[in-house]
Amino acid sequence: MNNKSKIQTCTLGELMIYQIALSIEDGILAFHGFGSPLVQLALHLAKHSHAPHLVLVAGATYGVNPAPAFLTPTSNDFAMNRGAECHLNIEELFDLAASGRLGRMFLSGLQIDKWGNMNVTRVEKNGKLTLKLPGGGGGCNLSCDADHVTIWTAAHRAPPDDQGHRRYRLVESCDFVTSVGHRTADGIHRSGLPLRGQGPDCMITDLGVFDFNYDGHLRLRAVYPDTSAELVAENTGFDFPVAENLTIADLPDVALIEFIRRLDPMKIHQRELSLADRERSFDLAGA
């Protein structure tokens, strides 16, 4: 392909997909859920590159190691399930998680707090439902049972409105805890809960990459070539520690970018990004 020599930049979406992929260990069983094109692509990218022994379970179809024809905007589609080696069903996937055999799960939230608790169920004002969110699928169960959780969101940036108010994605506390992180609203540490999984260990956003410190608190670990710790702080609804060796996140190489573009010719993953973020790109040569 001639394109090879032409690829000189990667997009924000491709960077996020790569960073999510880096959180995936080889040889584990991981599940990508539905409504998550960035994650779906990350699992395929990981399996294609550093994690060839990944047991990749596709969300909604429960197909194992499929080779999607192309990414579709709906997850329970034959195109996503093409070439699956075998199939689980809904109870088998969740049984695997409950028995400690789901190595990693990927979860997001319309509200994400500093302990990695997330809300995709309901937003309230003074105890009254003001926004019904779609719901978490199996996220609640898997946040408890999966060995590790990768959090991602493409809506970290919270620009101020006309009155200067920001509506944060990363909030001080969630209106409803759909999936559990490292500390409950009443301060109980995860280790005090009888949960099997160890909780979230990283978060990839449109502004940077976080890990969790010894306390279970989000900590900024890397920014992107066009972001800074200050920018991340402005867009976050709580204070957070910054790693001493804060770095600029690695970019994917040309071969990996080509793989993503081949698998997602309709650029479905960009629908997770804001219109402005779809324009962000990074020079591979400068990286």
């Binding site: 329970n76 439902l129 408890c144 409950t184």
Partner: protein
């Protein structure tokens, strides 16, 4: 046990098994194999006050909410993923207080159905602790496990009054064959008091046995042959998801409840006395053949998502 030799009936009679206020489990999931023709008939029959239980769903639950027949939702997800986003009728009905929000999670649902299937009052799970589902569902209890000493959550048996499913094939005895992901259909069939099914095609018992029985006949109360009965959701390999129609649907949900009635429910539900009339309304054979030709090549397939 449903043992009658011939369970075939008309679509109208199929839905007579659903009563006002029933707890209903809808088969399929997201944009895949939802019993849409049966749900449209349910709306025409003005069956109301339903309590819905299920995993990840989309247009099926949203349509029922838009028609005002739902009192309570314990689905784990209702939406259109990255395709269109939030389910607007569902949201509107929940936020107006017309639909009581009783969200559940997939594994909790699975365990509740398994309890019903096993004839047990509850099943234990380890998850859910530390989340607000414990407050949302005060019926979930905790206990200390007498074997391990761990604190576990007990979730009560869930026995839906009726499961509404759409399958590819059935024989007249009621054996069902589903191709591709069964989602929660098998669990729903085994746990529910009644199972009603629409199917693409009714075939002989021998032909069905050869394809394989996904759900044995004695779970099935009644069935009806409704070709394209999952439209606009997909029923691969027969036909793909009708994104174009779903886009029209989504637009119609945007403005108001009344706008949805006028622009969608009237032309595609109330004015269609049966599924044949509906198929004409969505573009007839020409539209269907586009959806059936998904496997004519990658380009043709991708075009369906544009």
């Amino acid at each position: 046990m449903y043992t009658q030799d011939d369970k075939r009936c008309a679509l109208g009679d199929l839905l007579s098994h659903v009563q006002n206020g029933d707890c209903v489990a809808v088969g399929g999931g997201l944009s895949w194999r939802e019993p849409m023709a049966a749900l449209r008939e349910l709306i025409r029959q003005d069956i109301k006050g339903l309590k819905l239980v299920g995993s990840a769903h989309g247009i099926d639950i949203d349509l029922l909410c838009g028609a005002g027949v739902v009192a309570e939702s314990a689905e784990s997800y209702v939406g259109f993923e990255q395709d269109f986003g939030m389910a607007i009728n569902y949201r509107r009905a929940c936020e107006a207080g017309l639909v009581k929000v009783e969200d559940n999670c997939c594994y909790t649902l699975v365990q509740q159905l398994r309890a019903a299937i096993s004839g047990l009052p509850f099943m234990p799970i380890r998850s859910v602790q530390g989340t607000d589902f414990m407050q949302l569902h005060p019926e979930f209890k905790t206990m200390i496990c007498p074997f391990s000493g761990e604190q576990l959550v007990l979730v009560p048996a869930l026995k839906p009054d009726v499961a509404i499913l759409h399958a590819h094939y059935a024989d007249q005895h009621g054996n069902l064959h589903i191709e591709g992901p069964p989602v929660a259909d098998i669990l729903f069939a085994k746990a529910s008091v009644k199972v009603i099914a629409s199917v693409e095609q009714i075939i002989s018992r021998e032909e069905l046995a050869q394809k394989g029985v996904t759900i044995p006949y004695f779970y099935v109360t009644a069935l009806c042959e409704v070709p394209y009965g999952a439209h606009p959701t997909s029923c691969y390999p027969n036909y793909a998801y009708d994104r174009e129609h779903t886009a029209y649907y989504y637009q119609a949900t945007k403005h108001s409840e009344d706008g949805f009635r006028e622009n969608y429910l009237k032309p595609f539900v109330y004015d269609c006395k049966d599924n044949k009339t509906y198929i004409e309304a969505i573009g007839g054979k020409a539209r269907l053949s586009c959806l059936e030709q998904w496997d004519f090549g990658m380009e043709q397939w991708m075009k369906l998502y544009e």
